[in-house]
Symmetry: C2
Subunit: 346 residues, 2 copies
DNA sequence: GTCTATCGTGGAAGCGCATTCCTTCGGACG
DNA sequence: CGTCCGAAGGAATGCGCTTCCACGATAGAC
């Protein structure tokens, strides 16, 4: 039966056991342009199996000059937004003989550059950069520079939701989604809006605010800047931003939080303040995070097919890129009206 | 300034530019036992910088005979349980010059074996296996066998929450936690319990049911098997299981779902059925998933420090293992009483 | 019958690096 | 002033694999 050699089994061991040359063993195991006689191939495969041979991927990478590693860099893998994207990437990678290396920057943009360097060291064939870029210039410049180098080394780079990078991009239509949401909310009869915006430096957050304002504008409604409160892109950020708004809540009939996580924080803050949603106030989020679908009242939001975003990014990154003109894949959100907004005009 | 060479820069390029030998360049960049004169070192570092040199990790791995890759295999990265663990791992890995390769098995145990083989091919120095083992024998045997081979190759393996594997393990005290929860619930005055159990093959689920039954037993309460309903370990599984129980819900005053996700599904099912929680029925979960903390009413549950679980696993896997006797790190949960159970006896 | 394609196989080079073994040089000591 | 020793630099080897090239054999063309 299978033996248990100490240390790794090499191709030489397999070749020796099969009584063939290194070249033949290699060809038999990995198939190549050259054919190998059936008998020899069988012998090699049998030898490999009985020795539990697993080709040294490092050595293969060296010899071939390319790897089967793809990097995925997210802000925070614990955030359902990113973990959903990651799931999409993993699913798309399935069966492609590709290994995904994960980077989690904990929202520190400079870590992104570090990961890019590390992945270049790994000679990753591609990298997916998920997460909205902060427009912090020095870091952004460093990132752009490192992306350049990475691409020069022959790697593909795909960004998710950040049009300002000169690479293939999966664009999430934040602006459009927010605009549609605004239109829908106005359609429900809401008129006086507050917005819980994320950090101003996060482009995704900014786009959603812009889109929302645009949508309102089309209906002839002005968004009073005094009712736009910034906060962290998190549950607690939403809670705090909502709390800040609570003093003048009487002047509002609906609040839009730029993502679901913030919306949930806001919902709690509202409840703590004795407000009942949607009776006293409408509330809407963005993303349609599945884990959050069962909060009560259910959140009106914009559904984003995040797994599809991840899958698209993966496909993009695995297909040959034409550096001269970055490709773009647009992914739209869809307004989902639920109980956190009333269903008819009052 | 920095130039942009086409293709990868090699150590030879750096050495040439610095006017030193390969050996010196290597020693200057990676520091070794041998010293390098200050002037030469400076020259080498400058050359590396100006060429944007990033050492080829594959080549280093070959030459050194070891890599800095660690594998993390989870059931489903989109599941907050696993993404929290992953976050813990990533955080612990931070600054350790280690790259984490992610595997997501989509709950197909045989994929776990595949990942293990792939990671062995990468010569990963270690692998973390997160997720409860199904006790599906043929697959379990294959896994055990592959783990053996992996360890024979010199890799460390750490399992999370599955005592039955002969490797270092981070044990989550599911049984104990469930027991404590049962005790607490009885303390609140509940007497007639139903359980939404997960798939019987998932050990984590099974342990929690056992523990819960034990806890009840200590209070002299019997858990009627008729009130233990099995379902998928998901939100929908919880919804279905709860629905199945609804027919005889009058005989119950509290339901324990073996994880939070199921509990949330159950909550929705109960609500749909016109039940108000906790007035008509108490409900408790397990895990204390942070994304789920704001459901209404807030879930009584057992808090698990999942990030710490991930971090512990990483520490374990990075420290030398003594194969003769697997180490164990136990992590306890803590009962958290919230609004989904009433606060006093009726 | 010889001469040229074709195919299966083996030999060997080389991927980029760490590291061992030599060589050289300078200084300290007798 | 000669010898010895340590320290610093360089040449060369090998990690495990792919692949180019060479070679012998077989088959087809003339």
């Amino acid at each position: 039966m299978a033996e248990q050699p100490r240390g790794s089994v090499t191709l030489m061991d397999v070749a020796a056991r099969a009584g063939v040359s290194l070249a033949t063993a290699s060809r038999a195991l990995n198939g190549s342009t050259r054919k190998v006689g059936d008998d020899l191939r069988e012998r090699v495969l049998a030898a490999a199996r009985s020795l539990n041979y697993a080709a040294n991927a490092q050595a293969q990478a060296m010899a071939r000059g390319r790897t089967n590693v793809v990097g995925l860099v997210v802000h925070d893998i614990a955030d359902p937004y990113f973990s959903s994207i990651a799931a999409g990437v993993m699913e798309a990678a399935e069966g492609q003989r590709v290994l995904v290396t994960l980077g989690s920057t904990l929202r520190r943009p400079e870590r992104e550059v570090d990961y890019l360097v590390a992945l270049r060291g790994q000679r990753s064939r591609a990298v997916i950069l998920a997460g909205s870029r902060m427009d912090d210039s020095p870091v952004a410049d460093a990132l752009r520079r490192e992306i350049d180098i990475f691409e020069n080394d022959g790697g593909n780079v795909v960004a998710i939701s950040q049009k300002q990078l000169p690479v293939d991009t999966v664009v999430i239509e934040n602006r459009l989604g927010a605009r549609d949401l605004a239109t829908s909310l106005v359609g429900l009869g809401y008129r006086r809006f507050g917005v819980l915006a994320g950090p101003d430096a996060v482009l995704t957050a900014r786009d959603r605010v812009h889109g929302f304002r645009e949508g309102l504008g089309r209906s002839g409604i002005d968004l009073d800047p005094a009712f736009v409160v910034h906060g962290a892109f998190t549950r607690d950020g939403g809670h705090q931003a909502m709390s800040a708004l609570l003093g003048r809540i009487g002047e509002l009939d609906c609040v839009f939080a730029v993502n679901d996580v913030m919306a949930v924080g806001a919902m709690v803050a509202a409840r703590e303040h004795g407000l009942e949603i949607p009776r006293d106030l409408g509330l809407a989020g963005f993303d349609d995070i599945s884990t959050l679908r069962d909060v009560n009242p259910a959140l009106t939001t914009v559904r984003l097919p995040l797994e599809k975003v991840g899958a698209s990014a993966f496909e993009l990154v695995m297909s040959a890129a034409d550096r001269t003109k970055p490709r773009t894949r647009r992914i739209k959100g869809e307004v989902v009206l639920r109980q956190s907004t009333r269903t008819t005009a009052p």
